[in-house]
Structures are given as structure tokens and as C-alpha cells.
């Protein structure tokens, strides 16, 4: 009995003994161990801020989202700010949804059709190179520069004025590169034999593209769209000069009634305000925004993981 127990015990800690002999073997082995230990510590440092941020936002925002006071709990999502901004953030939530839906309605068709053209139709490398290069450049442009461009081009030059239309078009510009590149990747991953099979059956290129290729690439496309939506949902800088801010929901598409609030802008406005309860509301809004963005990102990752597993 005792013998067996001892052997289990020594087996369990065998790796420890092995490891000590390894470390004692030479200076190089010690250096190897120290290097690995340092890297482990660094990884802990890298991921620590994520948990700190979630903890901070959740610990203060929790009572906004689940409390029972004025403008807390379900009221936080369903009421307008009202006098002294004591109510909820319904204006911001409705505004963000409107902006994202309008931006998607413009941005997704443009980028998906563009990706289809350069991947399925463009014969020369030139068109493809130009489009890939410009979309990469567009992805790298600072969001405030796109905001300033939206202000001068959409709001001033096209006379749209600040509001929901100018704001969502600006967001659509930011959406294009992400969706275009991920759709292109998804289309590239579709096996050539599928297309050839369809063409051999007498289908035109157009119907092959939409009925066969796009159907196979659809999960990848959804991933790209979700990632892009998650990104534009949290953008503040492009909206400051294009969407304005408002305490109610927009009533028209263009003009002074079209100013629209968004969750990120509301967080910014509330956190810069010295009033204590607005700071708490900012945390609540940040918690809501973070949950939405993280949910979208996780769903996108699950879809893409499932797809890669199926293809491999």
C-alpha cells in the first residue's frame, strides 16, 4: 500500500526532479529556464489589462445596468436622458443601431461586389493590385482623418449637413477595407473545382459566382461583416464632426433634425462631465458597448473557426 502510494507520489513529481536536473545541467539550461519564465510573466502582463478593464467597467457599470434607481436597470436602456441627463441612454442606443444599419447598407454591398469583381472577374493583376493597395491604405488611415474628410466632403461639400446620413456614410468608408479583404480571402479559399463544375454544367459566370462561389464563401463573408460592424460600433472620432449629438432620436435623414447620438460619443461626453452620476452612467454605457462588441467579435470568431475546421 504505502509502497504504491510512494510511487504515485514520486511519479507525480518526477517532472520536477527532471526539471531540476535539467536546470542544474549547465548555464545554458538555466538561461533557457529563465527565458521561459520571463516570457510567461510577460504574457501575464500583456493580458492583465483586459481583465483590469473588464473589472473596472463592470464593477461600476453593474449597478447602472442591474440597479433599481432612477435611470438604472431596464430604464437605463429604455428612457431618454431627460432633464439633467438623469435618465437612460436610449438616444445613444437607437443612434448607434441606426448608424450601423445605414453604414452596413452602404458599405457591405460596395465592398462585397468589389471583392467579387477583383477575385472572379478582373483579368489583369493591375486592377487587383490597385484595389488591394487602396483598401489597405484606407484601413490604415486614422479615424479622425476620415472624420475630418466626412466633415468637409459629406457635411460641407455635398451639403448633407451633420447628422445620421453623413455619420453613417463616414462609417461606411471605414467598413469597406475590412469587408473587402475578408470577402476576398473567403472567395480565394473556395476550391476552383466547384466553379469549374458549375461552368461545365452550362451556367454563366454570373450565376456560378452568386449561386455556387458566394454560397461556399458565405460564412467567411459573414465573419468579415461582423468584424467590421464590431469595429465601427465603437468608433467615436469619425462621428464627432459628422453625426453630432442629440438627446432624442433623429426625425429626418438630412437637416437639423437628423443629429444623432451614439454610445461611444455618449461615453465621452459623460466621462468628461464632473457630475458623479454621469461617470457611473458612462461606465454603464461602456459596459453595454463592450458586451455588444465582444459578442459580435466572439460570434465572428466562432463562425470563422468552424469554417476553417470544415475546410481543413
Amino acid at each position: 500500500m504505502s509502497d504504491e502510494g510512494q510511487s504515485i507520489f514520486s511519479n507525480r513529481f518526477l517532472f520536477l526532479r527532471e526539471w531540476i536536473t535539467n536546470v542544474k545541467q549547465s548555464r545554458r539550461h538555466l538561461a533557457d529556464f529563465l527565458f521561459k519564465a520571463a516570457l510567461t510573466a510577460i504574457v501575464v502582463i500583456i493580458i492583465a489589462p483586459f481583465f483590469l478593464i473588464v473589472f473596472q467597467v463592470a464593477s461600476i457599470g453593474f449597478w447602472q445596468v442591474f440597479g433599481t434607481g432612477r435611470g438604472q436597470g431596464i430604464e437605463f436602456f429604455l428612457t431618454f436622458p431627460g432633464v439633467g441627463l438623469e435618465g437612460g441612454i436610449r438616444n445613444a442606443i437607437v443612434g448607434t443601431v441606426e448608424l450601423v444599419v445605414l453604414a452596413s447598407a452602404v458599405g457591405i454591398p460596395l465592398s462585397v461586389l468589389g471583392a467579387v469583381y477583383i477575385n472572379e472577374y478582373a483579368r489583369s493583376g493591375l486592377v487587383r493590385n490597385i484595389v488591394e493597395f487602396t483598401s489597405d491604405v484606407l484601413a490604415g488611415i486614422p479615424s479622425i482623418v476620415i472624420g475630418a474628410f466626412g466633415f468637409t466632403f459629406l457635411a460641407s461639400f455635398l451639403n448633407l449637413g451633420m447628422g445620421v446620413l453623413a455619420g453613417s456614410l463616414t462609417l461606411a468608408f471605414m467598413m469597406i477595407p475590412t469587408v473587402l479583404r475578408t470577402t476576398q480571402e473567403a472567395l480565394r479559399a473556395v476550391p476552383m473545382s466547384l466553379r469549374e463544375g458549375s461552368l461545365a454544367l452550362g451556367a454563366t459566370k454570373w450565376s456560378t459566382t452568386w449561386n455556387v462561389t458566394m454560397r461556399a464563401a458565405f460564412p467567411g463573408l459573414v465573419t468579415g461583416v461582423l468584424l467590421a460592424i464590431g469595429r465601427i460600433m465603437g468608433e467615436t472620432a469619425p462621428l464627432i464632426f459628422t453625426a453630432g449629438n442629440s438627446l432624442s432620436v433623429p426625425t429626418e435623414l438630412v437637416g437639423s433634425g437628423s443629429w444623432v447620438a451614439s454610445i461611444p460619443y455618449t461615453i465621452w461626453a459623460y466621462i468628461s462631465d464632473p457630475r458623479e452620476y454621469l461617470q457611473a452612467k458612462a461606465h454603464g454605457a461602456a459596459l453595454g458597448l463592450m458586451l455588444m462588441v465582444l459578442a459580435v467579435t466572439v460570434v465572428a470568431n466562432l463562425i470563422s473557426r468552424k469554417v476553417t475546421r470544415r475546410l481543413v
Binding site: 478593464i53 472577374y121 458597448l289 470568431n301
Partner: protein, 354 residues
């Protein structure tokens, strides 16, 4: 029925007739080249027509991103020209340090210096940490843990910058004011260092650099670890077989083989760092001075646009100066993207893909 059987015949007949005419004359040949797709379109049946029309209609969306870039360049250039042509402005504003719209002084050197210092601090922290983290992920990490950490990285990359800014403003700024600055300034080891001098209210260059570093880490780690994972297994095995330890293999073989990927990661994160707006805006204090210590407040390029464009749009010169800042930001970001693409190209070349 009879209609559909006749139309193709008519189209064919007219096509033959035209082809018969154009022999010789170059002008007619050109016209024929233009008309041929049209004639093909008329000749085709319904699916064929959809096919041809659809192909033509796709060209406009394809050009969308190119068109947007051209529009952005054009409009920022158009808005920025007044300040470059005006006697009180000129190209000299890039090196002139005084920003005072009331006296028509539009020097933007402060913002450029502020941006570069912030970015420098952030890159100085994020690149060593991020590359080490990526080495851990790709070389030593168990598969399950790697999936978990990668997922956390993706979430970190997805958190909106305003939330980072909120956290930095509420947690990090008081921490720097109450803990970090007194500690560093009272401690014998660090108190003499010139870059730790000065009183602070927490809103500082250091806070900006730190939050920026935290925001950059996911990008650096993800791109670098992807680059490390594509290093062929045989290289690692050869190194281990020669008696190198795992850490020596990782540092000297794998890292140097993945150097182009690491370079691309650094340049891409540089671009993101220069263009980051909201988080930096909330924690750097935004005062018009060149920072001399880490605890001084500073003003970066993105912040000045965010803070003042709303007031400036009725003053042509002021507005134009802000758009000049935006134009400089745009040019910097384009340069970084080009350099990153060159790094990626170099990496593909070393693997023999091109």
C-alpha cells in the same frame, strides 16, 4: 416563340454587315471594338445578358475604395492649401512651435513632437513585450492555452478605444498621480533622473504612452506570432538537433527567420499609434507645450483636430491649419502602410512565394 427565334437572326445579320464594312479603316475598327460588346449583349439570351450587364455593373463598386482615397487626398489637400499659401502660414508651420489662432500663429511642431514622443514610448514598451509574448505563444505555449490567449487578444483588439480611454482616465491617471510619480520621485535609484522630474496631476505623456502601448499589444502579438508560426518546422528541428536549447532556437533561429513579419507588425502598429485618437485625447492633458519629462502634459496631432475643428470651421486659416495637420497624418499613415507592405513582400520573398 416566333419573336425569340427571329431576334438573334436579325442581330447576327447586322453584325455580319458591320464586320463586312470595317475592313481597313482604323476608325471603323475602333468603333467596331467599342460596339462588339454591345452587339454581343444584344445577341445573348437572358442569362447571358445578366452575365454581361452584371460584369459591367461590378466595376463601380470595385473602384469605391480607390475613389474614396482619391477624394480624401483631394479634399484634405484642397482644405489645407490656404495655410500653405498664406504669408502667415507657409510650409514653415511644420517647424514653428507657436500655436495661437488668436494671433494668427499656426505652428504645429508641438503636436508633431507630442505625437512622436507618445508613439515612441508606446512602441518602446509594446514591441519588446509583444514580441516576447508572441515567442511564448508560438514556441512554448500548450495548444489549448494558445487558443485561449489568442481569443483574449482578439477581444482586446476589439475593445473600442473610448473604453480604453475611460479606463485610463479613471484608473491609470490617478494611479500615476498618487502612486507612480511619488514612488519614482522619492526613490533613490530613480529620483535623480531628468525624465522623472516635475509635479503632475496624472494627465501626462507617460499615461498616453502607456495606454497606447496597451492598445497596440494585441496587434503586435497577433501579427508577430502568426509570422513566427509560419517559420518551417525543419529550421527548428535542425537547430535543436545541433544541441541548441529551446530558448536559443526561439531567439536566434525562429525570430531571425520571421524578421520581416516582426517588421511588418512594428510598422503597422506605428501607424495605428500615430492615428489613435480618443484614448490619447482623454489622458495626455492637452496643453500647448513641448513635454520635457514623462510627467509633463502634451498635445498630439489627433487631439488638436478633435478639440478644435468644431470651433474652427468658420475661420478659414484656422480650419485650414487643422486640415494641414490631418493631411500630415494621412501622409504618415500612407507611408507606414507602404513600408508594412514592403516588409510583407520581403517576407514572402524569403519564403519563396514570389
Amino acid at each position: 416563340m416566333s419573336d425569340s427565334s427571329e431576334t438573334p437572326n436579325v442581330a447576327e445579320a447586322s453584325g455580319e454587315a458591320q464586320e463586312g464594312i470595317d475592313t481597313g479603316s482604323p476608325l471603323a475598327g475602333f468603333a467596331n471594338r467599342l460596339l462588339k460588346p454591345l452587339r454581343d449583349f444584344v445577341k445573348a439570351d437572358t442569362p447571358g445578358r445578366i452575365d454581361k450587364a452584371g460584369k459591367a455593373a461590378l466595376i463601380l463598386p470595385t473602384m469605391a475604395s480607390t475613389l474614396i482615397i482619391i477624394l480624401i487626398l483631394g479634399f484634405l489637400w484642397y482644405e489645407a492649401t490656404p495655410i500653405f499659401l498664406d504669408p502667415s502660414g507657409g510650409p514653415g508651420i511644420i517647424v514653428s512651435p507657436t500655436w495661437d489662432p488668436n494671433r494668427n500663429l499656426y505652428g504645429i511642431a508641438i503636436f508633431i513632437v507630442g505625437s512622436f514622443l507618445c508613439t515612441g514610448i508606446a512602441i518602446g514598451i509594446a514591441v519588446p513585450l509583444g514580441v516576447s509574448g508572441a515567442i511564448f505563444l508560438s514556441e512554448f505555449c500548450p495548444m489549448r492555452l494558445r487558443t485561449l490567449i489568442k481569443m483574449i487578444m482578439e477581444m482586446m483588439a476589439a475593445i473600442p478605444s473610448i473604453v480604453y480611454g475611460l479606463w485610463a482616465y479613471v484608473v491609470m491617471v490617478p494611479y500615476i498621480r498618487n502612486v507612480m510619480a511619488p514612488e519614482l520621485q522619492s526613490n533613490l535609484l530613480t529620483s535623480w533622473m531628468p525624465w522623472f522630474q516635475g509635479s503632475t496631476n496624472g494627465l501626462s505623456l507617460l499615461a498616453g504612452g502607456l495606454i497606447l502601448a496597451i492598445m497596440l499589444l494585441p496587434t503586435v502579438v497577433t501579427i508577430t506570432s502568426d509570422a513566427l508560426l509560419t517559420v518551417p518546422r525543419t529550421l527548428r528541428e535542425a537547430s535543436l538537433a545541433l544541441g541548441a536549447t529551446q530558448s536559443e532556437t526561439a531567439r536566434k533561429i525562429v525570430l531571425s527567420a520571421a524578421l520581416p513579419g516582426v517588421g511588418a507588425a512594428i510598422v503597422l502598429s506605428l501607424g495605428r499609434a500615430v492615428g489613435e485618437t480618443m484614448a490619447i485625447l482623454m489622458v495626455t492633458g492637452n496643453s500647448l507645450q513641448i513635454p520635457y519629462t514623462l510627467f509633463d502634459t502634451t498635445y498630439v496631432m489627433t487631439s488638436i483636430i478633435t478639440n478644435q475643428l468644431g470651433y474652427a470651421f468658420v475661420f478659414p486659416l484656422w480650419r485650414s491649419a487643422l486640415f494641414a495637420v490631418a493631411l500630415i497624418l494621412l501622409i504618415i499613415s500612407i507611408c507606414f502602410t507602404v513600408v508594412a507592405k514592403l516588409f510583407i513582400r520581403w517576407g514572402m520573398k524569403t519564403r519563396g512565394y514570389i
